[in-house]
Symmetry: C2
Subunit: 304 residues, 2 copies
Amino acid sequence: MNYIIGIDGGGTKTALKLADSDGKLILSNEGGPCNINSMGKEYVQKMLKELLEDTLNKSEITMEDIRVLCIGTAGVDRPDDKKIMEDIIRGTGYNGKVVITNDAETALYGGVGGNEGVILISGTGSICFGRNSEGETKRAGGWGHIIGDEGSGYYIGINAINRIAKGYDGIEEKTIMTDLILEHLNLENPQGLIQFVYRSGAGKSEIASLARLVDEAYKQGDTIAEEILLRAAFELFLTAKAVIDYLKLNRKECSLAVNGSVIEKNECVSNEFKRLMNKNYPHIKVINMKNDAAWGAVLMGMNN
Amino acid sequence: MNYIIGIDGGGTKTALKLADSDGKLILSNEGGPCNINSMGKEYVQKMLKELLEDTLNKSEITMEDIRVLCIGTAGVDRPDDKKIMEDIIRGTGYNGKVVITNDAETALYGGVGGNEGVILISGTGSICFGRNSEGETKRAGGWGHIIGDEGSGYYIGINAINRIAKGYDGIEEKTIMTDLILEHLNLENPQGLIQFVYRSGAGKSEIASLARLVDEAYKQGDTIAEEILLRAAFELFLTAKAVIDYLKLNRKECSLAVNGSVIEKNECVSNEFKRLMNKNYPHIKVINMKNDAAWGAVLMGMNN
């Protein structure tokens, strides 16, 4: 037999899809986090081994039936990183062909349904990745929450906290976000945000999840929230622009798929981003993901 | 006898000054970090005990000769924090009068040589603090490097890294800062900055120390470095403005003392800040610190 496994190894969960040689989905499955830096190699290897074994059991096929396994995870850009991930896959007992790539690449394959186009991700973090018909690739953004990740949920959340602080200090007008966010975090006053950010070990994702409340404040007419969201959309546009121009996609018809809670669900960011894209790149179609990154990994696997 | 001890308890070192009842300096001394959160209470108590004993030995006076001990440290704004610090002081064996206050307050006393005026600090972090003749006080800024600290060395350093990343991605023009900072950090390419910021545990102060190179790039004609520095100066001005306007110091003659490596040594930031102050608040004199915060603590102690 001739099966393909595609894996999207994320920081909070791992999604697996099994397909047959005709590109028909047989089974979807799910495992824990796939981040070597935060979880350690042993955890990731054990998780992948169990996920594979569970998948094989459920589908009644054997390791030998798998022709190719393609996995996309964050931070495997350097050859050293790829080697580590390959050793982990081999450690699960799988001996077939392995394709190891970046999660942005599998998201692109899944999102546009092929290997030409652009993927823009804005969830907790943000990144843009594209490929043209000549096979050239280009990444922009994705420098993480401290250096960059402009236009991401974290960017919106931390900017909201900054503007609440400025309102409290009298540096600028108070914002509706103050009440919305303090109530959400169960804090009595803006000074409590210091405890929230520095002492309670609030992670990226907790700060990023405040983006929803910034959108809420915007809908209530808050101009500071609007400013943050319009700026976020503009930053995402600039990131996409760098990829589009580098790959010379600016005059041809192609798709840009958007992925992640901010760019998909935040109305202000989503509308403004689409407006900027339509105005500057009318040939590029902004679409929602056709398929997820795990299916993108299946497609990549089939092409290898 | 009737001596006064003033202590400026900082995050990297503690400065102590001993004065007699006529306000004459007898002795300066120095101890380790005075931050309870990072060093722990026991460390701080041991450090202060040794510092006091060493001071008494050197000056040949006894604990009983000290009339008042005034200490300024970061993060003692809440009554709970003051109580913790008082217990620590009592644990050293000192039984006289204790004054516990914020380090911005002692810096103000030292900087303007009295209790009316404004102190603007921009070193690794940034904060502004002021007091008017009615005794009202006002703080702005000082929210730490993640939430705020606009115009600080950290703010300048992290913005420089962000703009280097944007130059690398093709989102904007390349900057002279790229070569200066990569060479300084001994990195081969901008992607190495990810390792520097996230994996090597680069602290606030390491990132803040890059501000010097941003000034260097500015002097070589780099417009992006100039943009960062002018923005930093403007943010510091807005922070000072909030304090000045709140305390209604905007029409009377008073002093604003500046303190910290950025606002004292970075020519672009310093000049632009002074230009904005002179233009908007011609009655307010921008001065360098008359005395340091430890001497400010002595002055506060004498007035108590």
